[in-house]
């Protein structure tokens, strides 16, 4: 049964649609304690005194810890090793002397009931000496502590002779653009439940994304052996980059389960989530192009400032590094220089969010391309066509490293996808709708943005496939699932090789005691890495099954094929055995008779040095309300080439869902802070997620023109491309609606900001008949 490429319904869904999911908050253990975190109400202050007496007297309260009680626990480390320059900026699990953002954990209350824990937290009184607050990442660096300042690091990426290119430039075009502070905001808040099980092991439920790494990090922080900590991933209510990173609360529940000798549970509330879980984006770019007389961009120079918030968390410099490395995108750009300032401020710390660094970098670069087009007085599509990397130049290497790998665009046909998108947009009626609405004097515009994504980060991933005596198939992986359909995709890959339906395949992920290594789910890597490992393991399993079946059928293994879950002699289907019979023949006694290794199982590891680079184009048709500054996205198109889609329905789901998040960042979502560092978006009343009424119909042009040569299936990751170019495309469309190139310089485009822009234009678009 060919399963690759088929849009089959998900194997994950039955428990989720019947209320039988097991999210971490759904797990209850006898004798469990509930943790509540006391968080800083001020942005920057010295803690002078913490009074926990009144709180301790409440019935049901078992313990209260402050930073002094956890002083021996090291701060939370970076996943990437060796970044010693950034060590001073790591976050402690509880602040001891100083708090640096509103929401920073400074005490932990443990009680027998969650309501009691919350009551007690309200009775913890803290005295502060307030300190100077930094909210502007572009302000001159201020002291962070005695030895370091608020410029945590400067990221430098460059190649080619930028100076010479700018000196020889026919024209120079500069724009200053920024992307606001927003983030993943999964519908399930974070949570963790730690319990000490037999043999003294600490088991933590509520893991996600990178369970194996976190197991090791928790063990190290608590002075335990790696095998003393087990992480378990249950159902996970969305990840998007933020969930599953190691946060103070994860470490605190494990420590508490050890010290208090009881199961300890922590479930974040939404208000906490918006100040405690990683923020993201928030970059200002000043970006400049050198353009020759033919309109070819000979160099790009970019300087950006990233508002990192109060600490450098587990991602370290991943976001700024990716921003710098991926910024040149699909264009040739023979010379490039990028300087990125990682600036500490007194805000919630930032990390990755779907398309990290690319959403921001794509916005900056595509705004620059639009500005170049305006400078040259030509259609922005023409400017792009001229500067795209040609198909014959693939694979295309840039002398840049991204996430520790040499950057080489593995495959692609950029000019072709641009033309296909233009035809598709026309075919879907966007151009006609634009003309019609313009004819009735609506302020409408059509905008495009190109993007290159990266996916399938190595260096390794594995899979082990076991077949039970009754023929049940179990694929054990080191992957993680945040709800994206991992179980279905992996089952499809396995079932495709073994010619069995996905219903008979159970996919295990996120269980650190089931497999020794696993790097988890981020960077659109699971289908590429775990999928490939699964295919390899399934093929190895098939070889073994054929050999064992050959003994049972007294035939040559080469003559045996797998058909609909049975092994049969090719050309003589009456001579066949089921997979279950083959598995039973490999029990230890049976295997001894045939001289084979017991159990019908196989394991494989896929390693790679390079990432794969999917790519695509976004197109937006928008209407601007002249009087309110409101923007309505009428239609949206995402064209995306991912090499090969394992399950096109799931891929489209990823793209449309990603687009909704791109829309949020483009129009609605922003963590606004007051000058004294108070967060002003701490509920869903003021942090606005898109609802169904803001979402336009999204048409997806899913292409498989450029399979990657880096894995046998040719797959590239599909998780992020729906988000990447959204802000850039919407900005271009708004410019077009206003007939004012360069009007949008900042995301989100709030009605307030856009109304100001409209007032400055002081005329209706096209009123003088320019177009």
């Amino acid at each position: 049964m060919r399963l690759l490429g088929r849009s089959i319904p998900r194997v994950e869904d039955p428990p989720l649609i019947t209320g039988r999911g097991r999210f971490v908050a759904d797990i209850t253990m006898a004798g469990e304690l509930h943790m509540r975190i006391v968080r800083s109400p001020v942005a920057h202050a010295r803690i002078t005194h913490i009074d926990v007496e009144a709180a301790l007297e409440l019935p049901g309260v078992v313990a209260i810890w402050t930073g002094r009680d956890t002083a021996e626990i090291p701060p939370i480390d970076f996943r990437q090793e060796g970044l010693t320059d950034l060590y001073p900026y790591r976050q402690p699990i509880l602040a001891e002397r100083e708090v640096r953002y509103v929401g920073e954990p400074l005490a932990a209350v443990f009680a027998r009931d969650p309501y009691a824990a919350e009551d007690a937290a309200d009775l913890v009184f803290v005295d502060f000496d307030e300190l100077d607050v930094v909210v502007d990442p572009r302000a001159d660096p201020a002291p962070f502590d005695e030895d370091s300042d608020t410029e945590a690091a400067l990221v430098n990426v460059s190649y080619g002779d930028v100076e010479a290119a700018f000196a020889a430039a026919h024209r120079r075009v500069t724009v200053e653009v920024s992307v606001g502070r927003h983030t993943g905001v999964p519908m399930e808040t974070r949570g963790a439940l730690a319990v000490r099980e037999h043999h003294g092991r600490i088991v933590m439920y509520g893991a996600a994304k990178v369970p194996h790494y976190n197991r090791q990090a928790i063990a190290l922080m608590l002075g335990l052996g790696i095998d003393d900590v087990v992480l378990r991933e249950g159902h996970v209510g969305g990840g998007f980059g933020v969930r599953g990173e190691l946060y103070p609360e994860d470490v605190l529940v494990c420590l508490a389960a050890l010290r208090l000798n009881a199961p300890v549970k922590w479930i974040e509330d939404r208000k906490e989530h918006l100040v405690a879980t990683n923020h993201s984006r928030d970059q200002v770019h000043v970006i400049e192009a050198a353009v020759d007389a033919d309109g070819f961009i000979t160099a790009v120079r970019d300087e950006f400032w990233l508002d990192q918030g109060a600490y450098v968390r587990s991602h370290a410099a991943t976001v700024p590094n990716l921003t710098a490395a991926m910024l040149p995108g699909p264009y040739v750009i023979p010379a490039y220089e990028c300087r990125g300032h990682i600036r500490l401020t007194n805000k919630t710390p930032a990390g990755t969010y779907r398309a990290p660094g690319r959403y921001e970098g794509t916005f900056a670069r595509e705004r620059l391309l639009d500005a170049v087009a305006a400078e040259l007085g030509e259609d922005p599509i023409v400017t792009r066509r001229r500067n795209l990397i040609a198909h014959e130049d693939m694979p295309f290497a840039r002398p840049i490293r991204a996430l520790g790998t040499e950057m080489e665009y593995d495959s692609g046909d950029y000019p072709s996808i641009l033309e296909k998108t233009l035809a598709y947009v026309d075919d879907k009626g966007l151009c006609a709708e634009l003309d019609e609405r313009r004819a009735s004097e609506e302020w409408v515009g059509l905008g495009f943005a190109f993007f290159v994504e990266k996916s399938g980060l190595g260096p390794y991933e594995g899979a082990r496939i076991d077949v039970d005596d009754d023929g049940g198939i179990r694929v054990v992986t080191g992957a993680a699932s945040m709800g994206q359909g991992v179980e279905t995709a992996i089952a499809q890959v396995c079932g495709d090789v073994l010619d069995v339906s996905v219903d008979g395949i159970r996919v295990v992920h996120g269980q650190t005691d089931e497999i020794d290594y696993g790097l988890g789910a981020f960077a659109s890597r699971v289908t590429v890495m775990t999928g490939t490992a699964t295919q390899m393991a399934a093929r190895a399993l098939l070889v073994k099954a054929r050999e064992a079946a050959a003994h049972l059928l007294e035939a040559d293994p080469a003559d045996i094929g797998m058909v609909a879950g049975n092994l049969e002699v090719v050309g003589a289907p009456e001579r066949r055995v089921s997979l279950a019979e083959v598995a039973r023949s490999l029990d230890p006694s049976g295997a001894k008779r045939t001289g084979m290794v017991p159990t019908l199982s196989a394991e494989a590891w896929f390693t790679t040095e390079h990432m794969t680079y999917p790519y695509g184009v976004h197109a937006a048709l928008v209407r601007v309300d002249e009087w309110t500054g409101g923007v309505e996205i009428l239609r949206y198109v995402v064209a995306y080439d991912i090499g090969k889609a394992v399950n096109p329905m799931l891929v489209r789901g990823q793209i449309v869902g990603g687009a909704a998040q791109g829309l949020g960042g483009a129009l609605l979502e922003e963590f606004v802070y007051s000058d004294d560092g108070q967060p002003l978006a701490t509920s869903f009343m003021d942090y606005l997620l898109p609802t169904v009424t803001e979402m336009p119909p999204v048409d997806v042009l899913l292409l498989e023109d450029a399979p990657t040569p880096l894995n046998p299936m040719g797959v590239k990751g599909a998780g992020e491309g729906g988000t990447t170019a959204f802000g850039a495309a919407v900005a271009a469309a708004i410019d077009d609606a206003l007939d004012a190139p360069g009007a949008v310089t900042r995301l989100p485009v709030s009605p307030e900001r856009l109304r100001k822009v409209i007032c400055n234009i002081q005329r209706s678009p096209r009123e003088k008949g320019e177009r």
Binding site: D13, I17, T18, P186, M187, G237, R270, G483, Q484
Partner: protein, 156 residues
């Protein structure tokens, strides 16, 4: 001080003893063990905790258990009839109307309620109703498709 309350959920009675401040959502989850009803924001915006009270969708995070004494409540656990899925559940599965599944119980209850009351609801009104709840994974497109498909099936 705790109060004796009888919650009638999906036709079963649960005698519980709770403080007046115990939310309906917490009571359903913690006292009655029905964890299919999820809490996404606890301030009445996201709708993950939507349950039906006398057939009307309510945010169970904004209700107290003591307000619901004896009132018929329906949660996601009561949608299917044994192994037979409700048309709305079937449609969400078939049309990929969920990814992480956390918001799904709320959407299923909201959709069930609206389709029971307005089987012929038009697209625009349906969008308006579904905008009551938040989903962060799907971009809503397949949720809309699923609810429309369920509407068709329920109309027969």
């Amino acid at each position: 001080m705790k109060h004796q309350v009888t919650l009638n959920i999906n036709g079963s009675e649960h005698e519980i003893f709770v403080e007046a401040r115990k939310t309906l959502a917490d009571a359903i989850r913690e006292e009655c063990g029905l964890t299919g009803t999820h809490l996404g924001c606890e301030h009445g915006v996201c709708g993950a905790c939507t349950v039906l009270m006398d057939g009307q969708p309510v945010r169970s995070c904004l209700m107290f258990a003591v307000q619901c004494n004896g009132v018929p409540l329906r949660t996601v656990e009561g949608l299917a009839d044994g192994d037979d899925l409700h048309p709305v559940q079937k449609a969400f599965w078939e049309h990929h109307g969920l990814q992480c599944g956390f918001c799904t119980p709320g959407f299923l209850m909201l959709a069930t309620s609206v389709l029971e009351q307005e089987p012929d609801i038009d697209d625009e009104a349906l969008r308006e109703v579904l905008s009551s709840n938040l989903c962060r994974c799907t971009g809503y497109q397949n949720i809309l498709i699923a609810v429309k498909a369920a509407a068709e099936e329920m109309r027969g």
